[in-house]
């Protein structure tokens, strides 16, 4: 088409483009069609062991590694009847300030137990600063079928090491019973409280 007069060659470009494939991503209607790249750094997630216990040991190495000082962790001791992770220590408070976070993933590298990883979720925008400080309950990975929600005891007869070696594969009947029992008791308490207040 080099022989077209210069005045028309511009129109030709426009005309030709009409038959080309549209590059525009139809976000959010077709968001699923354009997933982020596999190593995209999205919102954090606190992982769980296969039986539902938390992997986080509250060691604060993520907070130490964070260049933006966006993470705040406070550990606490696991005690009989209030166990959240295998071993001695768990992260009682876990906060990430997403308005400080720069999604650099230094925290992920620092995590000694692989408790902290990143998801592909990125639609975090919100109306206030306070709600963008995510608490532990917002960051924890959802429970799968094999898991029950802590606090509950470790799988009977296992040690912390067994958890890390992958010898625990899911919640046992004992753990399920323990959690069900606890939840029942909590519900009963709520009923009592409700009656007392009414």
């Amino acid at each position: 088409m080099a022989d077209l007069p210069p005045a028309l060659s511009g129109f030709w470009v426009t005309f030709r483009t009409m038959f080309q494939k549209v590059v525009t991503e139809q976000y959010p209607e077709q968001a699923a069609k354009y997933p982020p790249k596999p190593r995209f750094h999205g919102r954090h997630q606190l992982n769980r062991h296969p039986d539902g216990l938390e992997k986080c040991v509250g060691c604060e190495l993520c907070a130490w590694a964070c260049p933006a000082d966006a993470i705040y962790v406070q550990g606490a001791a696991n005690v009989e009847g209030d166990r959240h992770s295998p071993g001695e220590r768990y992260g009682r408070v876990y906060q990430i300030n997403y308005l400080r976070c720069i999604f650099c993933a230094m925290c992920i590298e620092a995590c000694p137990t692989r408790a902290l990883t990143m998801t592909h979720e990125f639609d975090l925008a919100d109306h206030s600063r306070e709600v963008l400080i995510y608490e532990k309950d917002q960051l924890l990975a959802p429970l799968t079928e094999n898991m029950v929600a802590p606090p509950h005891a470790m799988v009977a007869g296992t040690t912390e090491k067994d958890y890390y070696e992958g010898k625990v594969t899911g919640a046992t009947t004992e753990q399920r019973e323990e959690v069900a029992h606890r939840e029942e008791a909590e519900e009963a308490d709520e009923v009592v409280d409700a009656e007392a207040s009414s």
Binding site: V23, T24, E25, Q26, Y27, P28, A31, Y34, P36, P67, A68, D69, Q74, R92, V93, Q95, N97, Y98, L99, R100, C101, I102, F103, C104, F122, D123, L124, A125, D126, H127, S128, R129, E130, L132, I133, E135, K136
Partner: protein, 184 residues
């Protein structure tokens, strides 16, 4: 708008509000205003691949008086702060602010004397957008959340009532420093 003054208060307003909100949200014009790296993503969002034109906001206005939305894209240095505020003041009502990225929202990793620790110290912010920088989809997401807010905006007597309610609520709200979460 001028319209709300003319109609009797409380009458027809829900429909008018909806209509006004729809009109407003579909023609948000952004002031051309890039401060740092986030601006690159913002520009990208305006390009063909992400195409903000789909939301009726392809026009980035270099003149604040013709703009409705300020996207603060990048860290705001102390020296830039008065200029940001001046641009905001020059915009005509109704106007909105998106704080794009960690630096604009809170200072991000630049917790130092040179950077304003969050642009909400100088202008009211409607949407905070995390990311460093946020990808264009994230900006689109923030814009859509803003659209939702614009759609819900009340006008006239309803707006006055809403302002009074919000103010009463704010007076008894828990101070941020007392929000401890799990802290003890």
């Amino acid at each position: 708008m001028g319209l709300e003054e003319k109609i009797p208060s409380g009458f027809l307003l829900t429909t008018v509000e909806g209509l006004a909100g729809y009109a407003r949200k579909k023609s948000v014009w952004t002031v051309t205003f890039g401060l740092a790296c986030c601006a690159i993503e913002m520009m990208s969002a305006g390009g063909p691949r992400y195409d903000l034109g789909r939301f009726g906001m392809e026009v980035f206005r270099p003149s604040p008086r013709q703009a409705d939305l300020m996207i603060v894209a990048g860290r705001v240095s102390q020296k830039m702060a008065p200029i940001v505020r001046q641009v905001y003041d020059q915009m005509s009502n109704p106007k909105w602010v998106i704080s794009m990225g960690a630096c604009a929202s809170s200072g991000g990793m630049f917790n130092n004397y040179a950077i304003v620790q969050g642009v909400d110290h100088i202008v009211p912010v409607d949407i905070y957008l995390p990311g460093c920088p946020p990808r264009p989809e994230q900006l689109e997401d923030a814009i859509l959340k803003l659209h939702e807010q614009i759609q819900q905006t009340k006008i006239g007597a309803n707006r006055e009532k809403e302002i009074a309610e919000l103010e009463a609520k704010a007076l008894v709200a828990e101070p941020v420093q007392d929000m401890k979460g799990l802290l003890r």
